[in-house]
């Protein structure tokens, strides 16, 4: 009950943040605009329509990922410092609220806010993709009736797109947990850049892995060791980036297994971060 009360309040507060609302509106606007994108090959051929859809899908997912990252960072960095600055934390922690309940409530609130925002962007994205596909089919059928094109031929709305959005959400649950941990002891500005650093390094996980495993010419042992540590410690955001695999016939053989694996990975990573945040916050003076 206590955790849920804190989560609900955090979400209510975050959803009213002007900057998050601006991100959401801009993202939705851009996704809607992507409806008018067309590739160089146009609609004169079947492949042209397919390329068009791919463009809309890639752009949409990329945009949701970018806005999701910004939202996680902007919201996450102020989760604890803002409570202290506004002094709301005094009235809350002077009640019978355990500190871990406060941290979990804040995290849950942030995650729910992300879920709502990503859900809204996701819905607009999926509607845009579906409409675009129908439009492409209608256009091609009109110009080239001999093609006998069907909607299914141009990859209309499919589960894979939904899965792509879910993966985006999962990666930001992890990023939020990292930023929440930092927010216990860092100022919002420093935290923003730290969080961004973690996100970028996490996205470059394949690079750090290659260097850590194979080594690079001219790199000293300590540097290689540093890459190894980075690869182990940093969240592997690259693994969530399955847009290409989803859009071009999948490189991932068992998508269900992969998704479950990523859910477990996200849960474990977030739990570890929460644990660190709780331990640190237990001794934090407010």
């Amino acid at each position: 009950m206590i955790i849920w009360a804190i989560a609900k309040t955090t979400m209510g507060d975050a959803l009213r943040k002007k900057i998050l609302q601006v991100f959401l509106v801009v993202a939705i606007g851009l996704i809607v605009m992507s409806f008018s994108f067309s590739s160089l090959s146009g609609f004169s051929t079947r492949s042209g329509a397919g390329t068009d859809l791919l463009l809309v899908k890639s752009f949409g997912m990329g945009l949701i990922a970018l806005v999701g990252a910004l939202m996680s960072l902007v919201m996450g960095v102020s989760l604890i410092p803002q409570e202290i600055e506004r002094r709301t934390i005094y009235t809350v922690l002077s009640k019978p609220v355990k500190r871990y309940e406060f941290i979990i409530g804040k995290y849950l609130g942030a995650t729910l806010t992300l879920a709502v925002n990503i859900f809204l962007m996701g819905i607009v994205f999926l509607v845009a993709v579906t409409l675009k596909a129908h439009w492409a089919v209608e256009s091609l059928t009109a110009t080239l009736p001999e093609m006998e094109l069907k909607v299914s031929d141009v990859q209309v709305f499919d589960v894979k797109s939904v899965l792509g959005v879910v993966m985006i959400f999962l990666q930001f649950t992890v990023l939020s947990s990292v930023v929440l941990f930092f927010s216990v002891f860092l100022t919002p500005t420093v935290n923003f850049f730290m969080g961004m650093g973690v996100y970028v390094i996490g996205l470059l996980s394949t690079v750090t892995k290659t260097i850590a495993e194979a080594g690079e010419q001219g790199l000293t042992t300590p540097v290689i060791f540093l890459y190894k540590v980075l690869h182990i410690v940093m969240p592997n955001f690259d693994k969530y980036n399955i847009t290409n695999s989803l859009l071009h016939s999948s490189e991932i053989t068992n998508l269900t297994k992969y998704t479950i694996g990523m859910i477990i990975y996200s849960l474990i990573y977030s739990l570890v971060m929460m644990l660190l945040a709780i331990i640190t916050f237990e001794r934090k003076e407010v």
């Binding site: 009950m1 309040t9 507060d13 002094r87 709301t88 009235t91 002077s94 009640k95 003076e285």
Partner: protein
């Protein structure tokens, strides 16, 4: 009976940026009895809020002992029985008064119908029933303070910490808070009141501690501390010789357009001065004055600073 608050050798040291140390609270000891209103006063930065925060478990002492209702400060079970009204309390501004109180009720795990009736009762008590569904963004400072009071009463606490509860309030709201504290005392509650409004503290508190630069410089029953009084003798048509004659036994003498005011502490000196004055000047008035908490506070703080 266990003391409501017991503090022994409590110290809070902050590390400065240049590696130095600053003792915000320095080896203080005091106790607050159950059912009393305890005033905790001091100049800005004296260590009042730091002490209260340590008692609430928001800050951790560097050394010393702090007990609240017989348990170590910060104990979660004890927090069921205490409450805190911070100076200028802030809440989530997007919420209405009902939502804010609902949130705090949930922190006490108060359920369903009980929660609703509790919220209605509190809103009535603090006079916000009419504005219950307005967001706090639209509230004045006084109204926010009333919400602060309401949240502090949710759990019907045995011990209340009030930190500057009347700061910046209009006279009506000010009086309401004073009356609330008096009614809490009548209900047998214990209140630790930190305030710069010394007339309030003098009016409602049973005992008072004065803290200055992290140290308690005076503590005691209000009546004992303020027992000392003075008499002001006002005369006219006096001479310089008369003033010089009185000076050694007067506490202070002021001269203003021919009117001389003589401040005297001891009663026997009052009679001595009156004997002298009767023959050499015209006596205008003899007014006994009770020392106020403000007088005492200013006197002590100045003395310590010297």
């Amino acid at each position: 009976m266990t003391d409501a608050i017991l503090v022994e050798g409590l110290t809070k040291v902050y590390k400065g940026r240049m590696g130095g140390e600053v003792a915000a609270v320095n080896d203080i000891s005091f106790s607050v009895r159950q059912g009393e209103i305890f005033g905790f006063i001091g100049p800005n930065g004296a260590g009042k809020t730091t002490t209260i925060k340590m008692l609430l478990g928001l800050l951790f002492p560097t050394s010393g002992k702090a007990q609240v209702l017989g348990m170590p400060a910060g104990d979660i079970q004890t927090k069921e029985r205490i409450s805190y009204l911070p100076e200028s309390p802030y809440f989530y501004e997007h919420m209405t008064a009902v939502e804010v109180l609902d949130f705090f009720c949930r922190l006490f795990k108060i359920k369903g119908k009980e929660r609703k009736s509790k919220i209605d009762e509190l809103l009535q008590r603090v006079g916000l029933a009419e504005d219950a569904n307005r967001t706090l963004r639209q509230y004045s400072k006084g109204m926010l303070q009333r919400i602060g009071v309401a949240q502090a009463l949710i759990n019907d606490p045995d011990l209340l910490f009030f930190d500057e509860p009347t700061s910046g309030l209009d006279p009506i709201a000010h009086k309401d808070i004073q009356d609330l504290i008096i009614s809490l005392k009548a209900q047998g509650k214990t209140v630790m009141l930190s305030s710069h409004q010394l007339s309030d503290v003098e009016r409602v508190c049973d005992r008072v501690a004065i803290i200055n630069r992290g140290k308690i410089v005076r503590i005691g029953d209000m009546n004992d501390l303020l027992s000392a009084g003075r008499t002001v003798i006002t005369i006219a048509e006096s001479s310089n010789e008369l003033v010089e004659e009185i000076k050694p036994i007067a506490e202070r003498i002021t001269v203003d357009s021919g009117t001389v005011r003589i401040y005297v502490e001891a009663d026997e000196n009052v009679y001595k001065i009156l004997d002298v004055v009767r023959a050499k000047a015209r006596l205008l008035s003899v007014v006994p004055q009770k020392q106020t908490l403000e007088d005492l506070f200013v006197e002590i703080v100045r003395e310590v600073r010297k």
